[in-house]
Structure formats: structure tokens, C-alpha cells
């Protein structure tokens, strides 16, 4: 029997939806081992987050209100001590930059093993086996953890968000522990990119642009109309982000965001190994590229061999027509 603690991710006093992937993982482990799962809302605005978490079937919803922006140094002691005092067998979060930043600190404090960015989990006779991508998704490893506590981050694109399963339990405030090096670190600012479009990691369709777009203006005038015709999220290759055509948080790849939408359209992207690692789990992949030999062909279902500057406006018009008719 393993009890799981999920650390929820909050932004501006709201629950981030990506947390529901970690909840889905926790449900699976709890079911498989006959245990339960609790969720901890930690940070600023935990009350609102706690009520958003209510319908997902947790045994308990815990809150730890900590003011000032997010700092791992300030959260790690509270999460770790909570884990010790309530004997959780697994501490989990979604493998966002928040989960990846915080949970290894928690692990070190608990002297626990970590399985990061897992793509799957199974319970085999009481033993929890984690499946995780390695080598830019070119190898999958199955691992077990021998410490009493396991620390796990969960790849959002591999765990469908948990569905509502009832049961508001109220929220219980837990002790905030403050013995980290927080006197030597200061939160200055979080400059967030505001966008009306769906989030990359939630979207059903992602349209990404690469170096071939050549400028920020072309991203705006050529690619964005296609993105919006689909009601899609916009993504990009590293080359496009590095060149400053789009903000860095749109990067898809091994070391950017991992997406698995129903439809992924790669426009002027060659398909380097590091890019493929972030999108090859997509259901349908379309490439628009003037070079038939581009490695993106290795994963593309449909490959439009064309100059993007001619093809994309045409495609935009067609998609608008098709969606207006639908």
C-alpha cells in the first residue's frame, strides 16, 4: 500500500491545469497499490487552488500558504517535512519547470531516489515500475527505486489530465517549515508571456515554425494566421527561439516543451533529433518543407513539399474555409 503526495503547481493564485497529469499518475499508483493520494497546494492563493482541486478524488487536500514568488528553497523544507510526518511512499509533481526545479531538492532532503519525467508507471506485485524516456526519447528505460520514498516527476503529454471523480474534503493547512537557505535568495520577477492562444502543452493542434520563417515579422504575418485558423497553439524550433523570432517558452523539444497534440504541423523545421524528441508522440504530423530530404520526413505522416511563403497563406485560406463550413 503506497500513499502518494502530489505537489500542485500554482500561478497567480490559480491552480495550473498541468497538475492534473500528476493527479492522474497518483490515482494510478494509489489504485495499483491499494493506497490513497493527497494533494498539497503550496504558495500564494492556496485556498482557491484547493477548491479547484476538490473534485478529483484526493483523500485530503493540504495547503501551505507561502508568500512572495516561487522559490524552491522556500518550498522544499515544507514538502519534505510533510512527506516525513505523513509517511508518503511517493511524492510527485508534473515535470514542468516548476516540478523539475523543486522535486529533486525534496529528494535530496529525504535521501530519496528520483525518477524524472516519467512516461508511464505500472505496479507489479506491489513494486512500482517507472518507464522513462532517455536519449531524447530514443530509448525507454524501466526503473525501480529502492528508498522508502520515491520522488517522481510526470511527463504531462503522457498522462491524460485526471477526470473529476467527486469528493470535496475541505482543506487542511499544514506546517510551513522555513529552514532552507532562503535568506540568500530573492525572487525578483516573473515576466510571463501573455497569449490568447491555448497553452502549448494543452492544445489539440500545434503549429510550429522554424528557422526558415526568417524573422519575427514573418512569424506574425505568415505563421500566426495559420495558427489562428486552426485555433492552435504556436510552437517553434530552438533555432527560431535563439534568433529571437518568438519567445523562448515556445520551444518544442528534448529540452523545451514536450507536446503530443492530435495534429502537429512543422513549418520550415528540419527535424533535428532534439526537436523530434518534443513532438513525435503527436497523433498526426504534417511537415511543410521545401526539402524532401529533411529528417522531419522520418516522423511526418504528410509532407507538403513546397515553399512555405507560398504554401502557408494558401493553407490558411483553405483551413478557414473548411472550418467555417464545419
Amino acid at each position: 500500500m503506497t500513499d502518494v503526495l502530489v505537489v500542485a503547481e500554482l500561478l497567480d493564485g490559480q491552480l495550473r491545469k498541468n497538475t492534473l497529469s500528476a493527479v492522474a499518475f497518483a490515482k494510478k499508483v494509489a489504485e495499483g497499490t491499494g493506497g490513497s493520494f493527497d494533494v498539497l497546494a503550496i504558495g500564494e492563493g492556496t485556498e482557491a487552488a484547493a477548491s479547484s482541486l476538490a473534485p478529483y478524488g484526493a483523500r485530503a487536500i493540504l495547503t501551505a500558504e507561502i508568500e512572495g514568488g516561487y522559490l524552491a528553497e522556500k518550498y522544499s523544507p515544507t514538502v519534505s517535512e510533510l512527506c516525513k510526518s505523513r509517511s508518503y511512499g511517493v511524492v510527485a509533481a508534473t515535470a514542468s519547470t516548476f516540478g523539475k526545479d523543486l522535486l529533486p531538492r525534496v529528494a535530496a532532503r529525504l535521501d530519496a531516489g528520483v525518477a524524472s519525467d516519467i512516461a508511464g508507471v505500472s505496479v507489479d506485485g506491489g513494486t512500482i515500475v517507472y518507464r522513462r524516456p532517455m536519449y531524447a526519447g530514443n530509448v525507454y528505460g524501466y526503473c525501480t527505486i529502492s528508498t522508502d520514498v520515491h520522488v517522481v516527476t510526470v511527463r504531462q503529454s503522457e498522462f491524460e489530465p485526471a477526470e473529476e471523480s467527486g469528493g470535496y474534503t475541505g482543506a487542511e493547512a499544514v506546517e510551513v517549515v522555513t529552514d532552507g537557505p532562503s535568506d540568500r535568495i530573492e525572487f525578483v520577477s516573473l515576466v510571463a508571456q501573455k497569449s490568447e492562444r491555448p497553452e502549448l502543452t494543452d492544445a489539440a493542434t500545434v503549429v510550429s515554425g522554424g528557422r526558415a520563417l526568417k524573422s519575427a515579422e514573418n512569424f506574425k504575418s505568415v505563421l500566426e494566421p495559420l495558427v489562428d485558423a486552426f485555433g492552435a497553439a504556436m510552437g517553434a524550433s530552438r533555432a527560431a527561439c535563439d534568433a529571437g523570432y518568438v519567445p523562448n517558452d515556445l520551444q518544442v523539444g528534448q529540452t523545451g516543451k514536450v507536446v503530443a497534440p492530435k495534429l502537429y504541423i512543422a513549418v520550415g523545421i528540419s527535424g533535428a533529433i532534439q526537436h523530434l524528441a518534443g513532438m513525435k508522440g503527436s497523433k498526426v504530423i504534417v511537415a511543410v518543407n521545401n526539402n524532401k530530404e529533411a529528417p522531419i520526413a522520418g516522423v511526418a505522416d504528410y509532407f507538403l513539399v513546397a515553399d512555405l511563403f507560398k504554401a502557408v497563406p494558401e493553407l490558411t485560406a483553405e483551413v478557414k474555409k473548411a472550418r467555417a463550413g464545419a
Partner: protein, 275 residues
């Protein structure tokens, strides 16, 4: 300032799709892929050099110590980092295939305790295991503040202002040394590192520096100490054990090439049914 930069060797990451798994599924096999420095560690080393030098004159104040855990052959990779400009190396002998992040972090902690650097500057992730954990674990073991996913660093005395690439934008924080910083891709952009010494007019390339012949010659004479995990008082007792590896299922492999937008739209409607 004294900076510790861990470097790990990885099988050529640009050919990661050539990785194989042994017939019994127990091992990952890199075959004849050449070894390379983990790219994020190269970026960390470049950032360390930019933190300590006057970019315009090449003069350097401070010391960069590299450390690597692995078999004897990792010294070849370490010499490349020395050729790039690190001052000396510490090689911790062990089978790097039988490590996990907790053991790695404990080994680094022992080295930090002995070497007392002001800063541990490291890659955010080793692109073989893709864990992204060792730096955070080290920071917690040391009781130090950290800044992960660093895309910019500005130094002001004992304080670093670090821009972090997070999912929702850019998070800026200030850390007081000693600290751990793990770097992201954009740390090698021209103006990403501001040390207050390099003139503002100096533009680095948006990439790591090339290794010069002079650098290679100099690297041969730089000190490289070898130690064992035992010397550091760390047991090679891993907490994470891999029982099996497998290759991912291939995609269908049937790429339909089309020449016109009309053909594509038709297929997306009738065959893929996504439009």
C-alpha cells in the same frame, strides 16, 4: 571567484537515434558513436569562462575546476574541457553507467566541501539520461541557494542576478554566493553573461568558443587528479535501478508526399480526419 564545473561525457547526442539496446534488454549500447562533452556542460564551461575573463583582452581572474565521474577514458573528454580553458580537473573513477543522480550529487558535495568554490556552474541536464536532477540535489545537500534553467547571469560582487527560462516566461532571481546555477541553451548567447569586467561593446558569438591548437597543447600539461568514490567517502549505492530498456515503437513510416495545398487539405479531411 572559483567555479566548479562538472562535465559528463555522452554518446554523440546528434545521433541519439542510433542508440541500441542489447538483446537481453539489460543495457543501452552506444556502439561506435563517439563520445562528446554533454552539450549543457559545454555551455556551463563557456559561461564560467565568460564570468571570469575580460572578453576583450582574454585576461582571466579566478579559477575553473572541472570534475567528472566515470571510467578512465573520461579523461579524454576532460582534456577537451581543459583545452577550452578550464584550469584543472578532478576525475572521480567509477563506472558512470552504474550511477544515479543522488550518488553524483553526494560525490559533488564531497568535492565542494574540499575545494570550497564560490559557484558550481553546471548543465541543467545530461542528454543521455535526460534526468535534470543532479544540480538541484547538490544545492539541497549543500544547503545552498540555486538557480536552474539559467539563460542569463549578471554578477555584482557576491550577488548573481539570474534569468531563468521557465514554462511561463522568464523568472528573475538574485542569489548570494556560494550557490549552484544550472544553465539552459540561451546562456551562450552573446550578451547572456555580464561580469562587469568585459566591456559592453564586446560581442561574444552566440555559441561556445572553438578549441585552439594552443589550448590543446596547454591542456596536456594541466593538472588532472584522480580519486575514487571511496576517497570521497561516497558509496556507489544507487537508489534507482534499471531492469530493462527498449526502443520506442516506430511511427508508421509511411510518409505521404504531396505537392499542392489542395492535396494536403483533402488528405487531412478524408484520411487523417483532423480538419
Amino acid at each position: 571567484m572559483k567555479i566548479l564545473v562538472p562535465v559528463k561525457r555522452v554518446a554523440d547526442p546528434n545521433n541519439a537515434n542510433k542508440m541500441k539496446v542489447s538483446a537481453d534488454g539489460k543495457q543501452v549500447v552506444s556502439g561506435d558513436l563517439p563520445w562528446a562533452i554533454n552539450p549543457f556542460d559545454e555551455y556551463a564551461l563557456e559561461a564560467a569562462l565568460r564570468l571570469l575573463e575580460n572578453g576583450a583582452t582574454g585576461e582571466r581572474a579566478g579559477e575553473i575546476v572541472i570534475v567528472s565521474l566515470g571510467v578512465d577514458d573520461v579523461q579524454t573528454t576532460m582534456r577537451q574541457a581543459l583545452a577550452m580553458g578550464a584550469d584543472r580537473g578532478i576525475h572521480v573513477k567509477c563506472d558512470e553507467g552504474a550511477l544515479d543522480s543522488l550518488v553524483v550529487a553526494k560525490a559533488f558535495k564531497a568535492i565542494v566541501d574540499a575545494e570550497k568554490p564560490d559557484l558550481v556552474l553546471m548543465g541543467k541536464q545530461a542528454v543521455d539520461g535526460d534526468s535534470n536532477t543532479a544540480g538541484q540535489m547538490l544545492a539541497e545537500l549543500l544547503g545552498w541557494p540555486m538557480a536552474t534553467f539559467a539563460m542569463s547571469i549578471a554578477v555584482d560582487g557576491k550577488t548573481l542576478t539570474v534569468g531563468r527560462e521557465v514554462d511561463t516566461g522568464v523568472l528573475t532571481l538574485k542569489v548570494t554566493l556560494p550557490a549552484v546555477v544550472t544553465v539552459d541553451l540561451r546562456i551562450v548567447q552573446s550578451k547572456a553573461v555580464q561580469n562587469g569586467i568585459t566591456p559592453a561593446s564586446h560581442a561574444y558569438p552566440d555559441d561556445i568558443r572553438h578549441i585552439s591548437v594552443k589550448g590543446i597543447m596547454a591542456a596536456k600539461k594541466k593538472p588532472l587528479d584522480a580519486k575514487s568514490l571511496g576517497d570521497l567517502g561516497v558509496a556507489q549505492a544507487t537508489t534507482v535501478t534499471y531492469s530493462k530498456f527498449e526502443l520506442p515503437p516506430a511511427r508508421s513510416g509511411n510518409t505521404r508526399y504531396v505537392e499542392t495545398v489542395g492535396e494536403l487539405v483533402k488528405l487531412l479531411q478524408t484520411e487523417a480526419k483532423v480538419l
